[in-house]
């Protein structure tokens, strides 16, 4: 009976679909999606002569970067492929972080892995299959990146992986139009930020919106908040100690940082604009959390630069557009701590073509080709020509990354042990939002730290 019923329903459904198809075909009108990356850069092979002739060779790249960002990567490899004759096999997989470990352990590692976390990098090096970076790469990194970046690609004093892309997390999204209409100024210090929040709150509107729901990873946006505050209140040196667990997670500095984030996130007057009360933070997905800015029910939303891709298609993301971002200010104007993330190119082979490709990826040439074919991508490479960036947010991110006064620190939860960084920290942060005290929260996370 149920089977027969299914069959009838299928017939009805397929008839319906057929009808719709016909109707659509009649309407016609091929609305092809715009192809932004079709205009591949012109190839000038002279800058590739140092790599020699690599005809017939293949280099495999394995990464967690999938569609649509993957196209820009493969496009940026094309000049190298054309000039040296090598074939780059790009393989993107969202479960990269587990699969790359499986492959490295089984001896089936890719030639190059684009690793998004220093912690994972260390794990991969520990498998014993990773290769140290060649001298050319090290020289390029010394030339184009700051010491802090090189340190993140270094494991046990040996330099393995050159940085690739970078993203900035210390950003606050806002509506430039609202700021202009009401005469609000982009704050330059934390105190100015609170003053601005009070001012907006006084006008009867909740200034901040936030959301931390993200499936299994629910809670991670709070970890970013706390890390940002840790950097601002206690400085980068204490931050490093905190990440390495040289000071305990329930130290006074750490509790103060969480309390500082709580000044906004757990303040009923400040949150949750357009979404509800404080507890609604826990149930709102991070993707949706900033959208009330477009409706005018929320003014400020702290989220990383990649959030730019999350606005609906017709939103103008620019200094004079619908939404834009400003730098989450430091305690005073002189300090510029910058929280972010990035990827690193780790090699598992030392064949000449792999070395050559690895070197190419560490040059300013690659960084500039890459930005010319992509959107929403920047690098901390100092050779990056910021004028080539088309998107205003990318420009802002590049400016911040290249700022001489900026002190870059990697997302701490990505570097903590898995039991904390991708478990207790997330879960306890979520409990903290829904009412758990700061002390209880930091104590619980400290207790979860592997002994």
């Amino acid at each position: 009976m149920s089977l027969r019923a299914t069959r009838t329903r299928t017939a009805v459904a397929s008839a319906g679909v057929l009808g719709l198809t016909l109707a659509l075909a009649a309407c016609g009108g091929g609305s092809d999606s715009d192809d932004t990356s079709a205009n591949a850069p012109k190839t000038d092979c002279s800058q590739f002569s140092q790599y020699g002739d690599l005809k017939g060779k293949t280099v495999t790249v394995f990464t967690g970067i999938v569609t649509p960002e993957d196209k820009a990567y493969t496009d940026s490899y094309k000049p190298f492929e054309e000039c040296t004759g090598v074939t780059i096999k790009y393989e993107g997989d969202k479960s990269f972080e587990t699969q790359v470990l499986v492959r490295a352990k089984a001896g089936n590692a890719p030639d190059i892995a684009i690793v998004p976390q220093p912690g994972l990098l260390a794990q991969l090096v520990a498998t014993g299959n990773a290769k140290e970076a060649p001298a050319e790469v090290a020289a390029n990194v010394d030339k184009f990146w700051g010491k802090d970046w090189k340190a993140y690609g270094t494991v046990d004093g040996k330099f393995y992986a050159a940085p690739s892309g970078a993203s900035i997390k210390s950003l606050v999204w806002y509506s430039p139009k609202e700021f202009k209409d009401n005469g609000y100024q982009v704050p330059k210090t934390l105190d100015e930020l609170y003053a601005l929040s009070d001012k907006i709150a006084a006008s009867g509107k909740k200034p901040w919106c936030a959301g931390i729901s993200s499936g299994e990873a629910t809670g991670w946006p709070v970890t970013d908040w706390m890390e940002d505050m840790m950097l601002r209140l206690n400085g980068p040196e204490t931050y490093d100690k905190w990440v390495k667990h040289e000071i305990p997670f329930n130290s006074p500095e750490s509790a103060a940082a969480l309390d500082e984030a709580g000044k906004i996130l757990k303040n009923d007057k400040y949150v949750n604009g357009g979404l509800g009360d404080v507890k609604s933070i826990a149930t709102t997905t991070f993707q949706d959390a900033g959208l009330p800015i477009l409706d005018g029910t929320c003014s400020l939303h702290r989220q990383a630069s990649f959030y730019a891709a999350n606005w609906p298609k017709n939103t103008k993301v620019a200094e004079d557009g619908d939404v834009f971002a400003f730098y989450l200010p430091g305690k005073d104007t002189s300090s510029k701590p910058l929280l972010g993330g990035g990827e690193f190119n780790l090699a598992f082979a030392d064949r000449p073509e792999v070395k050559a490709f690895q070197t190419y990826l560490s040059t300013d040439t690659w960084a500039n080709i890459k930005v010319s074919v992509s959107q929403g991508w920047v690098s901390a490479n100092k050779g990056l020509d910021a004028s080539k960036l088309t998107s205003p947010v990318d420009k802002l991110a590049a400016q911040l990354l290249q700022d001489q006064n900026a002190v870059f620190r990697f997302d701490g939860s990505d570097m903590m042990p898995g039991a904390v960084g991708s478990n207790a920290f997330w879960k306890q942060s979520t409990s903290w939002i829904t009412g758990q005290s700061t002390k209880q929260t930091v104590d619980n996370i400290e207790a979860a730290w592997p002994k």
Partner: protein
């Protein structure tokens, strides 16, 4: 057979004395039973139906409202399907679809051939240690495939076949064999020994008995297991992810589906369309072979 080939949704107890067929028919045509069956069928199909409607709605609609708003505000587009299938600007699921077939068909045929031969040996050939060996094979079922992944991959790397279809064919066959042998062995055991003895008296050897006597009787069982295996392999993600990777040369459609929503999950509106492309084949197989499916589940092969 005829009494039981009807619905699985309600199997009323048959009172002793009354002719079972009549009784069953009367019970089954009762309006209440029909109603319950319809309700279950509707509840069961509702999510799939919602998915089907979602796949036809424009991106913004999918992301802002539920599929049921379709009835008050019907907006239909094939953009999602276009984006999922388009090779130039879209995801190009088509080639992954082909990969899925290339992976699945041998992964069904290999264990079926091996398992039916092995099952015959276990059921009808006497040899030393037969029972022990059978128990060992049966016990292999309790080995979780997760613990075998890294050792197997290491073996494949050593054999120089990593990243090829062979890894998937071999893995799926290996994982399927214990259950396949066990099931087919049980089907074969149910065939009366007299049938085989008669064949033997007529001068048939093992090969002839297997092909001429047993195989025709086994068809429903083979078909049933074949469908099961087909669905498992088609829907498998873990094995494909570990051995074939995400490269477009060998990855099946499940791997492509898992990556469809984009690096940060912003393109999830494509998932419903992608899912529908992927389930076409299992649904078609099921509808075509459902007769065998039910028969194979219920019968021991005796009546074929």
């Amino acid at each position: 057979m005829s009494t039981t080939s009807a619905p699985l949704t309600s199997t009323p107890p048959i009172a002793p004395g009354a002719p079972a067929a009549t009784k069953a028919k009367r019970k089954l045509t009762s309006p209440w039973a029909s109603l319950i069956a319809v309700v279950i069928a509707v509840l069961w199909t509702l999510p799939t139906f919602g998915l089907a409607i979602s796949s036809l709605r424009p991106e913004r609609q999918i992301k802002t409202t539920g599929w049921w708003t379709f009835f008050t505000d019907p907006q239909v587009t094939l953009d999602n399907y276009r984006e999922v299938l388009d090779v130039e600007n879209g995801e190009g699921l088509g080639s992954f679809f082909v990969n899925s077939f290339v992976i699945t068909i041998p992964s069904v045929l290999i264990p079926l051939c091996l398992a039916s031969l092995a099952a015959y040996a276990f059921a009808w050939i006497r040899f030393r240690g037969r029972d022990l060996l059978f128990i060992v094979i049966f016990a292999l079922q309790i080995v979780p495939i997760q613990v075998t992944l890294i050792p197997l991959l290491t073996l494949y790397v050593d054999a120089g076949i990593a990243g090829q279809f062979w890894t998937l064919w071999l893995s799926h066959s290996t994982f399927a064999l214990p259950l396949a042998i066990f099931l087919l062995h049980n089907f074969m055991k149910e065939i009366p020994a007299g049938l085989l003895e008669a064949a033997r008296v007529d001068g048939a050897g093992h090969v002839q008995i297997f092909f001429k006597v047993l195989l025709p009787l086994l068809t429903p069982a083979l078909a049933a297991f074949g469908i099961f295996q087909f669905l498992w392999v088609w829907n498998d993600l873990l094995v494909a992810l570990t051995f074939a990777g995400g490269g477009p040369d060998t990855a099946p459609i499940t791997v492509a589906l898992a990556n469809l929503s984009g690096t940060r999950g912003t393109a999830w509106h494509l998932l419903s369309a992608g899912a529908f492309v992927s389930i076409i084949v299992p649904v078609a197989i099921f509808l075509l072979l459902q007769r065998y499916f039910v028969r194979g589940l219920l019968a021991g092969g005796l009546k074929g």
